[in-house]
Every structure is written in C-alpha cells, then in structure tokens.
C-alpha cells in the first residue's frame, strides 16, 4: 500500500492537471484515506462562510447541498477545489 503522503501528492498533481476522474480513482484506491478526506471536506463545507459558492459555468451551489452530494459520492467539478484544500491540510496534519 502506498503511503498517504505519496498518494496525496499524486492526487494533487492529477487535480492540477484537470484530470478529476483519475484523481478521484487514485484517492478511492485507499478507502481509509478517501473516508478521511471526505469527512474533512464535509466538515469544511458545513462551516463555510456565506453558505454558497459560484462557479464559472454560472452555477451557484449551496455548501449544504455540496456536503450532501459528497455523502452519496456525487462529485461535481467545484468539489475538487475543496479536495485540493483538504489535501494540503491533511498533509500538514500528518507531517508528510
């Protein structure tokens, strides 16, 4: 099993390259890490200032809706911003 640090680095590279599907598959390859990251993202979404986030496609997402989508595994492009944020925080928490 790959270390979480290395896996997170690979996921970050894939997100930055716009390869969201590959990034998600990579993250899901370690269910423990996936659950940890998703729980962290949901927590961040629930306390997000303003409660809404807009994207370039003209959508306005409620952060509650985005958290609920994550709970059922429905990922949207805007979720990858939150994933990128959590990767950095988890990496720091783990010291990797």
């Amino acid at each position: 099993m790959q270390s979480w640090g290395r896996l997170l680095n690979e996921v970050e590279v894939l997100i930055r390259a716009g390869r969201y599907r590959d990034a998600l598959n990579k993250l899901r390859s370690d269910p423990n890490l996936y659950n940890y990251v998703v729980a962290s993202m949901i927590q961040a979404l629930q306390s997000y200032p303003g409660g809404q986030i807009a994207d370039l496609n003209g959508n306005i997402w409620s952060t509650t809706q985005l958290a609920n989508d994550l709970r059922v595994g429905r990922w949207r492009p805007v979720h990858f911003n939150f994933l990128l944020a959590e990767i950095g925080i988890i990496r720091r928490q783990l010291g990797v």
Binding site: A44, P49, L56, G58, F80, N81, G88, I89
Partner: protein, 130 residues
Amino acid sequence: MRRWVNSLPPAERNLPLLHVGNAFYTPLQALAEVERGSPIGEELQRLVERGEFGTDLTKLAKARLQMILEQAKGYKIASLSGKVYDTAELAKKVQAEEWDDPTLKELLAAEIRIAQHDLKLAEKFKSSGE
C-alpha cells in the same frame, strides 16, 4: 488579509471576488482558506497581493450578479426606462449573457467597478505593511 476583508462593506464580503480552479471565492471565504493554511488559500493570497481576480472581469461580474439576484429572489427591480424586472427574469438574462440589454450592461459595469475598487483596497494594507 484580515484587515483588508474587514475594511470592505459587509455586503461586499460575501460576494464572489476571486477565482481559483473551479470556484469563485468571496473575501470571507478567501480569508477562511488563508487562515486554515490550505493550498487554495495560498493561491488566493497571491491573487490579492498581485491585484488579480484570477479570471476576466465579465465572468467575475456575471458570478457576482448571479449571486446578488439569487439572494434577492422574489424582489422586483425597477429601471429608469420604466421597465420593472423580476429578479428571476434578470437572472435568466445574466445566465444567457445578454449584455446588449441596457439595464444588464449598466449592472455589469457597476459590478466591475465595485470589484476593482474592492481589490484595490488591498493595496493600502500591502503598502502600509498593515
């Protein structure tokens, strides 16, 4: 960053201003990301320091207008031409980018001016070292 956000009028703190990846960030959201030390926060701080929005002004103004119209759902907006707009009707025009509409053009220009002013305020705190 905090001083800059606090210097903004309260309504401006919750409107999209900066763009990173797939999402727009309001000044309060940007501050939250900076304070929790996320990579997105670092990118947002860089944008503010450079005086950049991370996207073009029309896209930014569109996102701001959509957020304003979403929050004003159910209200009517009267124009000087005598036409009264429903916010849902205006939101549709914004989504369709009907910038030739004089009312929409005016609203778009106003949002661009306000967004530029908001970001320019950050310079004050950068140059004074506050």
